[in-house]
């Protein structure tokens, strides 16, 4: 992909837009369609697009392999610790009333945002790690070989 100038310029523009849309889907998920799973795959798709067009080594400068692999576990931790927090405060596991006992509605809202954030982090980095796993084993190909 050395000489695909148009693809590179469009990609540089699109990656930002895609990530922005992913963040919107993530944090507006309680008002509009979407949530952690959808946002995760959208953000991962932005990184994968960058990787295809700019080359694997360039996307791995932005998002190193070790970071993607470790951050995937952080999402599950965020989710589970939300539940553990509510146990510590004295409610049931994953009962979001614990976050703000005076205002149960606010507690639910914050809880949902936290949990969706955990889902989003895990899905994003798992997708990126899977892509690295596959693309890292692919031999470098010339355009003609496709």
């Amino acid at each position: 992909m050395k000489h695909h100038l148009i693809l590179k310029v469009i990609t540089k523009f699109m990656v930002g837009v895609i990530v922005l849309f992913g963040l919107y889907v993530q944090f507006h998920g309680d008002y509009s369609p979407g949530g952690g799973f959808q946002a995760g795959v959208i953000i991962a798709a932005a990184f994968i697009l960058y990787g295809i067009v700019m080359g694997l080594e360039n996307v791995q400068k932005v998002m190193p392999i070790w970071f993607a692999q470790k951050a995937a576990a952080v999402g599950v931790l965020v989710y589970a610790l939300t539940g553990v927090f509510s146990i510590i405060v004295g409610f049931e596991f994953l009962n979001y009333h614990a976050i703000s006992p005076e205002h149960p509605k606010h507690g639910q809202h914050y809880g949902i945002i936290l949990v969706e954030l955990g889902v989003g982090i895990t899905v994003t980095f798992v997708m990126i790690a899977i892509y690295y796993g596959f693309a890292g084993r692919t031999p470098r190909l010339d355009d003609k070989e496709w």
Binding site: I48, I52, V76, V115, V119, A129, G133, F134
Partner: protein
């Protein structure tokens, strides 16, 4: 057309296009969040993964000597049975379908009261069914770990030696 194609590149591209079309179908049926997922995973990520796999193997499918008549008959028969199965189902969007009558209407009426958020799907997914979603997230992580162990792990060990 995908049945008779031997060039795997074209087959992968066709399946990606098929995913994109089914994402549009989901939009038509008002399931926009499913459409997001289908467009990003089905048309985007999995097409890339298939291409990466193809780059590791071969570009053209081998000619088979086995007869294709029997599998074709089985596939057609299953298709006919599936379509026959849909005849009993309630119409699309019917208000008296079982899905709308029991839990669905309860969730629709209590979600806003309990949480003050308008997206009932998110409310069910993240709060009423929080355990299940935690499980799903762990499944996604496990799938990722499996791929990392199978693909990247081996490579790392070889590099060290």
């Amino acid at each position: 057309m995908a049945l008779t194609l031997k060039h795997l590149f074209a087959v992968i591209m066709l399946s990606g296009a098929f995913s994109l079309v089914s994402a549009m179908l989901f939009v038509v049926m008002d399931a926009v969040d499913v459409a997001f997922t289908e467009a990003a995973v089905g048309a985007g990520v999995s097409t890339v993964l298939m291409l990466a796999t193809m780059a590791l193997t071969v570009r053209v499918q081998k000619e088979t000597k086995r007869p294709i008549l029997f599998p074709l008959v089985v596939v057609c028969l299953v298709g006919v049975l599936l379509i026959y199965g849909t005849l009993d189902m309630p119409n699309f969007g019917a208000f008296d379908s079982p899905a709308q009558l029991h839990l669905g209407s309860t969730y629709l009426s209590i979600t806003y009261k309990d949480m003050g958020i308008p997206n009932v799907v998110t409310g069910i997914l993240a709060s009423y069914r929080g355990y299940d979603t935690l499980g799903e997230t762990v499944v996604v992580l496990t799938a990722g770990l499996g791929v990392i162990l199978l693909l990247s792990g081996l490579k790392g060990r070889k590099d060290k030696e």
